[in-house]
Each structure stands twice: as C-alpha cells, then as structure tokens.
C-alpha cells in the first residue's frame, strides 16, 4: 500500500511541512490511486477521513500541536524509543546470555520476567513474560490471533506480518505451512507448540544455539539472534533441522 508519498522523509522536513500547513496536501486531487477509495468512503459518510494516510497523520499532528494537545517532542521521543532503545536487540542479549550462562537460563525458564529484568528490560507489555525453549524435538511459535500482543521490552513493536491477517489466521491451524513459508522445514518428529497470546502473558522464544558457535562471546552470539527466531518463525543457521 505504500506509494511514493509514503517514503521516509527526514523528520525535520516532515515537521516543517506540517508547520507550513497541510491544507493543500489534504486536498483530494493529489492522491492518485487512493482518491477512488476516498470517493467510496465519502459515499458511505466517512468524509471526515482524508484518503491518504500519510497526509492525514500529518494534518492531525499539526492540528493537535496547534491546539496545544500534543508536544511534537513527545512524538519524537516515542519514535526514538523504538528506533534506538526498545527492540529485538534487547531480546537477542537475553538469548545470548541464556546460551552462555546456565544459571541465568534456568532462571529465565522459571521466572522470565525477573530474569529479563536483570538485564534492565521491563515495562509495558513485558509485565508477565514467559520464555519457551526450542529443543531438537520442540519448536515454539508465538501469535496473537485476536490482536497484536507482543513483548515490547524485549522485541519492540511487532513486524507488520505479525499483526496481519495471513499470519494471525493461519499459524494456529497450519503452523508447519507457515514455517515452510518462512523457509523452515520441520521433520515429523518435532512437536510444534503454538502460543496464542490471548491474555496478559507475553512470550519470547529461546532459539536453539546454532552449531559451530562455541567459541563466540556473548556479544557475538547476540548478533546471530534474529527477531524472527525469537517469535519462532526462524531457526538460526547451523541449528539442527534448519531449512
């Protein structure tokens, strides 16, 4: 759905555009493919919503800033939090520590919230963590079929596919098909456990440590750990059964 209008622009340019006013930008004629959708929306009585989402967000931001309801620096702070503080690199450090420190691994599998907090990761959407461990015979997968629940302190915001219909609908009924789509082929003797985050528990998958990574430091190991492996849709290269 992203078209040329949606491509990232510098934050400063985005704000200066917003400050300069967006009256011209929200007018329908520039909107190309979306104009038709807008016409349909207007027929249905949704005229309040301009058609192009990027422009709508920009217009809304200018209005709420002008009204004094929103401090643009708070928006910058949210973006900066997810771009530089909270994300899958946090989870990767948890995983690498579990691979190198057996006592930590044990604590992580018994009381994940407390063990993860030892590394300084805690807070919203990480209040009740459970870590599920992949083994040669068990493969874990995490989903939120109803919504988009995800362990923010260790993984950040969920990827688009995690929040989208294809994954949410299919992973509970055909987990092996989904894994295949991600390039993971599992043999029949491996059990697949799917965790549907319906309540307040948030899950992190502890992937198998890749073979041949014995001499690496904790930091080097963390660099091998991917977001997808911690959701359970990837196995790390070298691990048994990897596609």
């Amino acid at each position: 759905m992203a078209d040329a209008e949606d491509r990232p622009v510098g934050r400063r340019k985005f704000l200066s555009d917003a400050a300069a006013g967006t009256a011209g930008l929200v007018a329908a004629p520039r909107l190309g493919a979306n104009a038709q959708a807008n016409a349909v929306a207007q027929d249905q009585g949704h005229q309040a919503v301009p058609s192009d989402v990027a422009l709508r967000v920009k217009a809304l931001e200018s209005i709420l800033v002008e009204k004094g309801m929103v401090d643009p620096a708070a928006i910058d702070a949210v973006i900066d939090t997810y771009e530089s503080k909270v994300g899958p690199r946090n989870g990767a450090r948890v995983v690498a520590k579990a691979w190198t420190d057996p006592a930590f691994r044990k604590r992580l599998l018994t009381d994940a919230t407390a063990a993860i907090a030892e590394l300084g990761y805690a807070g919203a959407q990480g209040e009740h963590m459970v870590v599920v461990e992949n083994t040669p015979t068990v493969h874990n997968l995490v989903v939120c079929t109803l919504c988009s629940c995800y362990p923010w302190p260790v993984l950040g915001l969920p990827p688009t596919w995690y929040k989208s219909a294809p994954y949410r609908s299919r992973v509970v009924i055909d987990p092996r098909g989904v894994l295949k789509e991600f390039g993971v082929a599992l043999s029949d003797d491996v059990q697949v456990r799917v965790w549907d985050s319906t309540a307040e528990i948030r899950y992190l998958v502890l992937p198998e440590r890749p073979a041949g990574a014995e001499g690496l430091t904790e930091e080097q190991l963390a660099a091998l750990v991917t977001r997808n492996a911690m959701v359970g849709v990837a196995r790390l290269s070298g691990a048994r059964g990897a596609a």
């Binding site: 931001e61 004094g68 702070a77 688009t160 609908s169 509970v172 390039g183 965790w195 319906t198 307040e200």
Partner: protein, 222 residues
C-alpha cells in the same frame, strides 16, 4: 464479539510478507502516527470503551484493508471528534480552528520514558480468589458468544484441553455489549493446552499443540 479480528483458523488471507526487516517503522508516517497516538492518548471522552473493542467493531472490509497504524489513527480521530476536541472542518483544512480552546500537552518526552518503564499489570495481588481448576486438569472452553470484547477465540470454544499453568488472579477484560467495562470480576487465568487434532481434526499433525491463556469464566468441567 464474533468479529473479523477473531481470525484464528480462517483460510484465504493470502501469503505472509516474510522478508520484512527489523526496523520498527517502514515509512515516516508510521512513526509519527504511533507517536501521535501515544501523545494524544489521554484526550478523548471521559468514559472510555475498551480500545480493542473499538478496533473489533470496524466494518470487516475496512479492518482487513487498513494498515495497522491507519486503524489507530482512524480511531483516534473518531474519539477526538466524539469528545468535540476535533472537527471535520479542521481535518479538511489541516489547521486548528482559531476559535477552538487551547490545551496543555498531557504527554511530554519525560512522561514517554516513564510510560515505557511502567508496569501496568492486570494481576490482582489485592484479592484472594479461589482457583476453580488445577494444573493438569481437563477443561472445556465454554461454547459462549459474548457480543462485547472477549479474549476467548472462537476456534477454541467447545474444545477440551489441559490446564498447564495457573497464572494467578487477573482483572477480567470482557466488556458489556457496547464495549464498556463490566463490574470488577477478578479471577484466575490459566494456560490451557489443546492438541491440534482436538481443535482441527484428524488432518492436523498428531504431535502439535496450541496454547492460550484463558480466564476462569471461559472454562468448565468437560
């Protein structure tokens, strides 16, 4: 409610975009939108509906077509309009009505950092509630169809599973038919394991399992 959001087990939703990189936002507007949603969050009607229910009642065709952050923005706009904090004319012009009241931001860069660090647990250490089920016990997910917000997915209803974990007492999140909170009813939440075959029949893999956390009210003795 039996809405489009409750999609576990549906077919025909298409391929998964498996090549997405690990960046949190893939367009400038996504980050601005998410930040705006957090920053404007405290403004809106006094009496709030469950925010997930607000998503769930979107017309299905729109729910499926909208991008994730687009849905949040649409609902933020609706909420601000309902509270008379925003008008259609303002959205069309891209500017605040000069005559509209001026406010003070309720969210600041400092409070963003504080928000991220804050535990907003629904666990209720303050009440003692007896657990109706024990670890290892067989339970059936009730065949119920609440019209408000519920966390019992359709694909589990009527099926029998095993209690794996008792997570303790949590506030019940189901709402009334209009999406407003029900009277407080804290209760135990359990992780229940279902075999894939119990949920999907004999074509499912014999070893595979599906787990969910279910509130006590969702469960009965089989």
């Amino acid at each position: 409610m039996n809405g489009i959001h409750d999609m576990g087990g549906m077919h025909g939703m298409g391929p998964i975009d498996v090549h997405e990189d690990e960046r949190p936002f893939h367009a400038e507007w996504e980050g601005r939108a998410w930040g705006l949603i957090r920053a404007a969050g405290p403004f809106g009607p006094e009496r709030r509906r469950n925010f997930r229910y607000e998503h769930e009642i979107l017309p299905p065709a729109q729910y499926l077509q909208m991008q994730y952050y687009e849905r949040f923005i649409r609902l933020l706009i609706e909420r601000l309009m309902a509270a008379k904090l925003l008008t259609e004319a303002e959205l069309q012009s891209g500017h605040a009505d000069p005559a509209s009241p001026r406010y003070t931001p309720r969210v600041t860069p400092a409070s963003i950092a504080e928000q991220f660090g804050r535990r907003r647990s629904l666990r209720r250490e303050d009440v003692k509630v007896r657990a109706g089920f024990k670890t290892g016990q067989r339970v059936r997910a009730r065949n119920i169809h609440p019209v408000g917000h519920t966390r019992l997915p359709r694909y589990m209803r009527g099926h029998v599973g095993t209690v794996l974990t008792d997570h303790g007492v949590f506030g019940f999140q189901d709402t009334d038919a209009d999406g407003y909170a029900l009277p407080d009813k804290p209760q135990h939440v359990y992780t229940v394991e279902f075999t894939a075959r119990e949920l999907w029949g004999n074509t499912a893999h014999p070893r595979d399992t599906v787990h969910a956390e279910l509130w006590e009210d969702y469960l009965e003795r089989p």
